[in-house]
Subunit: 399 residues, 2 copies
């Protein structure tokens, strides 16, 4: 599909807005009842559906529950199965670390090891973020020849380790043994570059253990998801659009940066994000606006709060519509039904508004209406080509 | 899918008719209104839907607007992304030129060059077809050692050039610089065979320039879409059916010939085509009948004429049904909404009639009904396997 996009994408002055309500899709609280989206009063979203087209987006494939990485890559038009983002990379993106293309990132955990070197607590008694930050600062003293080392706190017992240097590899196994009562494993590399990188990691671990030895319960570390940024075709090169991201949370800014979007402004809340959209209207052709709280409420199992979050989103729709985007897509990166308190595999409601829509018969934005909508059930990765078509940004294929 | 077809296709006496109403799919003229197909009175097509099954066909992929080539390849069961037909080949097919498998075809334009050799008019002032024919005749005098040359008029300032000879290549760039005020480019080949072929083209251009030098405003030529026929698996070999085409316009006969169909009869109009279908009923197992005027009306932006064309098509349905085909498919190769005056990416209504249909609840042939139809939204390339199944022409897969 990328080759096709590269071949067909044309310059245009048209504007596309992709509004992602994280974890938008849901489930009924009781049998036969409405989902969160169906329970919410969404007059503006309903109006968009009535005049345009809706459907269901399949993030990866039927039955596959995506993390935030694959969920967003799909919405950005990438096949999420073709580009995998390592846990270490995602963790680095999540703290706004500006990861270079050759950096190797790992997610670190502080842990507790007993006298025999076996792990007694994989999370170091869930130490406070404050204590975690203090320890990370100490680890900043580690020096290893031939590589630059960055250690950054995340939260509680979690940190990010980034190695920067020439010819690093990332085919390296986790040092976390996956269960307590086992000693941390040695980082093991599977090709020459990864073996060299594993040796650097081993030196880091040795020095870290020395620094931490009296820091009970955080007297050791483990490393997981050791990975480089995947080589991802860049958004502008593929789609010929200047793309800008407006996301409050760093991980989503990081995902946007990974595909080459410009971070226009983080935004403090949704009102602020819509303001940013207005201010930056001339700075990009494609805008990714990320709204986190639908997912957070779903993860907390709070049906009513997810409903309230959706209603808050709905209230901002007129301000976006007022900007007159040529194409507006509202969807989620995956479902997060509050009944499940987690991401799920269920298809995600999507609406597409454009002058060139072939309307369906639906008049409300909700899972049942979307099931009958004109977009059908469509893989998320096709939404962006569709948006380009409606924005007049794709030439005819073949004569 | 081809390997599967080759494995499973069996001989049978059953008959399949694929009736293609070019550019069938449409859009409402005003918000909430009917599309062209929905506005048309189509009692016979409606009756077929009521007793059988309907759906929407996706020509290539969501968002992709196909040209006639990819649109028809999809309907013939080919993945349109896997087989691309160069512009020169399509242009040659469009004038019924019997292109050999090793011929290289190019679309030619007469153009005007000024004193410095720069193009001042890429279309030579849109000279008349008559003048174009006269010039093409003069170009027929060009002789080049080691290759046969065919020059044929198309329309106005357009012609087709075909080179026939051993070991020709077609990885050659256009000589049309794409804009005025630039000189024509030299044909540049990218592999040994293409370099040799480019040298032949260059010799042709040199002689042509000499012949045309006093023929203002058509004193030069450019060549585009230099291409050979793609190597396409032949219809009969893949599907084990004798296939026949009945198409008024040469391009569609050419596309049919490209996949190995027999041209049964061009036909003068739809009535004549249906007569031809009747007369040739024993000469093939699969019949491709092409109806052009729905697309032409859409391209002209004429909603009412497209409606009238659809009604004309509907009136001929009983005569086709009377022949008792085992499977009848009515669809389009793409949508051509009169509101857009061009091909579009919107899915195309399709109906499939066969004794073995599992009926859906729909009773009319139109975009909204097809959205709810039993075929769902299906990639065009799967329609032919489905037709074979309903025609009893596919064995069970696996034990």
């Amino acid at each position: 599909m990328f080759d096709l996009m590269r071949e067909l994408a044309t310059e245009s002055r048209s504007k596309i807005v992709l509004l992602v309500a994280d974890g938008l899709g849901g489930l009924p609280r009781e049998p036969g009842g409405p989902t969160e989206l169906e329970a919410a009063a969404t007059p503006h979203l309903d109006g968009l559906v009535a005049r345009n087209v809706c459907g269901l987006s399949i993030p990866v494939a039927p039955g596959i529950t995506p993390g935030s990485g694959p969920g967003h890559l799909g919405l950005f038009g990438y096949d999420p199965r073709a580009y995998t983002i390592g846990r270490g990379v995602l963790e680095a993106l999540g703290i706004d670390f500006d990861l270079g293309p050759d950096d190797v990132a790992a997610r670190g955990n502080f842990c507790t090891v007993g006298a025999g070197g076996r792990i007694t607590d994989r999370r170091a008694g869930r130490i406070s973020s404050e204590f975690g930050r203090e320890l990370v600062e100490k680890l900043g003293a580690v020096r290893i020849e031939g590589a630059e080392i960055f250690v950054r706190p995340v939260k509680d017992y979690r940190f990010v380790l980034v190695i920067r240097g020439p010819d690093l590899g990332d085919d390296i196994e986790d040092t976390d043994p996956g269960a307590a009562d086992l000693p941390p494993k040695r980082p093991q590399g599977h090709d020459p570059a990864s073996k060299r990188t594993a040796a650097i990691l081993e030196a880091f671990i040795r020095q870290a253990a020395e620094i931490l030895k009296d820091r009970d319960p955080a007297n050791m570390i483990t490393l997981r998801g050791i990975a480089k940024r995947p080589p991802i075709p860049q958004f502008e090169e593929v789609y010929r659009m200047r793309a800008g991201a407006i996301a409050v949370y760093p991980m989503y800014r990081g995902l946007a940066r990974l595909v080459g979007m410009t971070i226009l402004q983080p935004g403090a809340d949704l009102a602020d994000q819509v303001d940013a959209l207005r201010r930056h209207w001339d700075d990009a052709d494609f805008f990714f606006v990320h709204y986190k709280y639908t997912d957070a409420a779903g993860e907390d199992g709070d049906f009513d709060r997810k409903v309230a979050c959706i209603e808050e989103l709905d209230a901002k729709i007129p301000a976006i519509v007022d900007l007159k985007p040529d194409v507006l897509i509202v969807t989620g990166d995956h479902s997060t039904p509050s009944a499940l308190r987690s991401h799920s595999w269920h298809p995600v409601p999507v609406l597409l508004a454009a002058r060139t829509c072939r309307p369906d018969a639906e008049t409300t934005f909700g899972e049942r209406a979307c099931l009958r909508g004109g977009l059908g059930q469509i893989e998320a990765k096709y939404l962006l080509p569709l948006a380009l078509a409606h924005a007049g940004r794709l030439a005819k294929f073949g004569a």
